[in-house]
């Protein structure tokens, strides 16, 4: 108790800095996953991609980031058990942020495909189980989070497979692919708008003070979907079928239509990413803030201050604006094999899965979900070559990240505890 009274403001400021830095790192690194395909497919220029990502990452983080943030904040550990020693929660969350941050920096330098989500969840479980007690961890919640990590790539894969199959049947394998693309693509755009707004309206907007029931959400989402689809049709009207000659072969302009669609799915992906990954940075911060602001009370019922998601959103956007362009460019250049019709199927499937996770408060890995989605398109014979070795490495890193995140956070936890007491 005295620790909080004495050092409260300093701990708060330190927490904010750590949280902001994490958000910054997420913005600088992970956003490339959402925007890379669009830049690679030349659906957006780099500058446009940065702008779109800034707007939609922020909107996603601020509007739909609440559920996952609350899971990180009070879903994994039961704060009530810490009522007698609230400072432990503060140290632990601080340690988790540091652990995840340090691990991400190491992994990025080594080029290992780690997930922010796995790092932070591993870190929180680690300090709680070892530093406080195994019973303080809400194991059933952790179980559902871990199973969501297995299910989300599979789900994204199934969705992307179905989307791409429908594209094959409705558009690509028909007599007039270009005309059919123009006819059906607004339908896909509707789907993008509908899914995103449905999940957001249904689950995300509580903290903004807007609570809608299922019926209302459905109505509004259909409306938003139609508006966005109409906007898409307007843009599509200007797309003309220009043939491109490459070698001796003439390519139909059908991919140009999908290029328009990709702009929409990129927005959706940025939104989904913001809504899920902001929690990795500000979830622990939210826990720290709620303890310190209530003067050491562990008030699990209290609502989260609005500025926390704002801080996370600003952190992501600034990381994106400062370093994102470089990463997006690199990622974008590497994936010319992913044409717009493939890219949109993968990205839309991943965005839908991630947004669903955000709505239900499950912290997912965007990267892994996208990997699943790309595999789905590959299974539908949409991509000529997929390296399963990389998939294997990703799974290994997945398994390694949890104990490493946990180990580091235990280390930091006892260090902080030692310093302050």
């Amino acid at each position: 108790m005295e620790v909080i009274a004495l050092y409260g403001p300093y701990l708060l400021i330190a927490g904010c800095i750590f949280g902001f830095f994490m958000a910054w790192g997420i913005g600088a690194n992970d956003v490339a996953n959402a925007m890379g395909p669009s830049v690679g497919a030349k659906a957006l220029t780099l500058a446009q991609a940065i702008l779109v990502a800034c707007i939609f990452e922020f909107a996603g983080a601020y509007l739909a980031g609440g559920e996952v943030t609350s899971t990180i904040r009070k879903g994994i550990i039961d704060p009530v058990l810490l009522a007698d020693s609230p400072e432990l929660l503060v140290f632990g969350m601080m340690a988790s942020l540091l652990a995840a941050g340090v691990w991400l920096i190491i992994a990025s330098f080594k080029g290992w495909p780690v997930s922010t989500t796995h790092s932070i969840v591993g870190a929180i479980v680690g300090f709680a189980a070892v530093g406080i007690g195994v019973e303080s961890v809400n194991w059933s919640k952790v179980g559902s989070i871990v199973s969501s990590w297995v299910i989300s790539p599979i789900m994204a894969g199934v969705i992307s497979y179905l989307i791409f199959k429908s594209v094959q049947n409705l558009i690509l394998n028909t007599k007039d692919p270009f005309d059919n693309a123009k006819k059906y693509v607004p339908g896909y755009i509707f789907l993008v708008g509908f899914i995103i707004s449905m999940v957001t309206l249904l689950k995300g907007l509580k903290h903004v003070g807007l609570t809608l029931n299922f019926q209302e959400s459905l109505t509004y989402s259909i409306f938003i979907g139609i508006v966005i689809a109409l906007l898409g049709s307007l843009i599509l009207r200007r797309v003309e079928n220009t043939y491109e000659k490459r070698g001796d072969v003439v390519f139909d302009g059908v991919e140009k239509v999908f290029g328009v669609l990709m702009v929409f799915t990129a927005c959706a992906m940025a939104f989904a990413h913001g809504s899920n990954d902001v929690a990795n940075a500000v979830g622990p911060l939210a826990a720290i803030v709620s303890v310190i602001q209530s003067g050491g009370e562990i008030a699990s019922k209290s609502t989260m201050p609005w500025w926390i998601l704002l801080l996370g959103g600003v952190g992501i956007v600034s990381g994106l604006a400062m370093l994102g362009y470089r990463v997006i460019e690199t990622v974008g250049r590497n994936i010319t094999e992913l044409t717009p019709s493939r890219g949109f199927a993968a990205v839309l499937a991943a965005a839908a899965t991630v947004v669903l996770g955000s709505g239900t408060g499950l912290p997912l890995s965007t990267t892994h979900t996208l990997v699943g989605a790309v595999l789905g398109v590959g299974l539908a014979r949409g991509i000529s070559a997929i390296d399963l070795g990389v998939v294997g490495r990703i799974i290994v890193s997945w398994v390694v990240t949890l104990p490493v995140g946990a180990g580091l956070s235990i280390l930091f936890f006892f260090t902080l505890k030692g310093i302050f007491s």
């Binding site: 890379g36 395909p37 094959q168 007599k175 692919p177 001796d248 094999e337 989605a373």
Partner: protein, 225 residues
């Protein structure tokens, strides 16, 4: 700082180098025509130059073959069976090899092509060049096939390309029969050893067309799976 994202799982399509390989094969068959013209004129200086070009092209083809195989690592998940791609590149690689054999054989023996059959002979070789051109077109078209994921118009167009290849090859078979008949008619007036090798060269040129046709068939197999 290296970033590893989901995009790392998408690998370069192996069809890029195969396409390049086919273009090299086509160029080597074209060069063979130039070579044969020089041989018919008994201009062995020019022939040696052509032979050098053919040999360089064959080396290029080998490099591209190796590159294709390098892209087909075990961990790769492909939209088409790996064996089919390996077969395709193996078949296609026979073309520049055979061209090199023919030019080597003719230079080594300074083979004279009898004036009576020289125009038929050249015509026969030119047909082989047209066929390898058609095969190259089909290989090129694989990309389009991918764009439309093996269905619709692209599949129909590919079928047409393969049919064209087949009919060209049938025509070429007939040309070969006629050429052999012409040679047969004059063979008793020629040194027997020369005749044997002339038949051998005709055989090898016929092989060029066969290989090109087989490349087409392999592609249609890939497309139909």
């Amino acid at each position: 700082m290296k970033v590893t994202g989901f995009t790392d799982i998408i690998k370069k399509s192996p069809f890029g180098p195969i396409r390049a390989h086919m273009l090299v094969s086509k160029a080597s068959v074209d060069e063979l025509i130039t070579f044969l013209k020089s041989a018919i004129d008994s201009d062995w200086n020019e022939a040696v130059k052509s032979r050098k070009v053919i040999s360089d092209l064959e080396n290029q083809a080998d490099t591209l073959k190796a590159e294709t195989r390098g892209l087909l690592t075990k961990s790769l998940f492909l939209a088409v069976p790996r064996e089919d791609i390996l077969d395709l590149i193996k078949l296609a690689d026979d073309i520049p090899n055979t061209v090199k054999d023919i030019s080597g054989l003719m230079i080594g023996r300074q083979m004279e092509i009898p004036a009576k059959i020289s125009s038929s002979f050249l015509h026969f070789a030119k047909e082989a060049a047209v066929i390898s051109d058609a095969a190259s077109e089909a290989v090129n078209y694989i990309d389009e096939l991918f764009q439309f994921s093996f269905g619709g118009n692209a599949a129909i167009k590919m079928q047409q390309l393969i049919e064209k290849l087949d009919s060209l090859e049938n025509k070429n078979d007939q040309t070969e029969i006629n050429l052999r008949a012409e040679l047969f008619a004059i063979e008793k007036d020629l040194p027997p050893v020369n005749v044997i090798f002339l038949y051998d060269v005709i055989n090898k040129i016929g092989e060029l067309s066969d290989r090109a046709e087989q490349v087409g068939h392999r592609i249609s197999l890939i497309a139909s799976r």
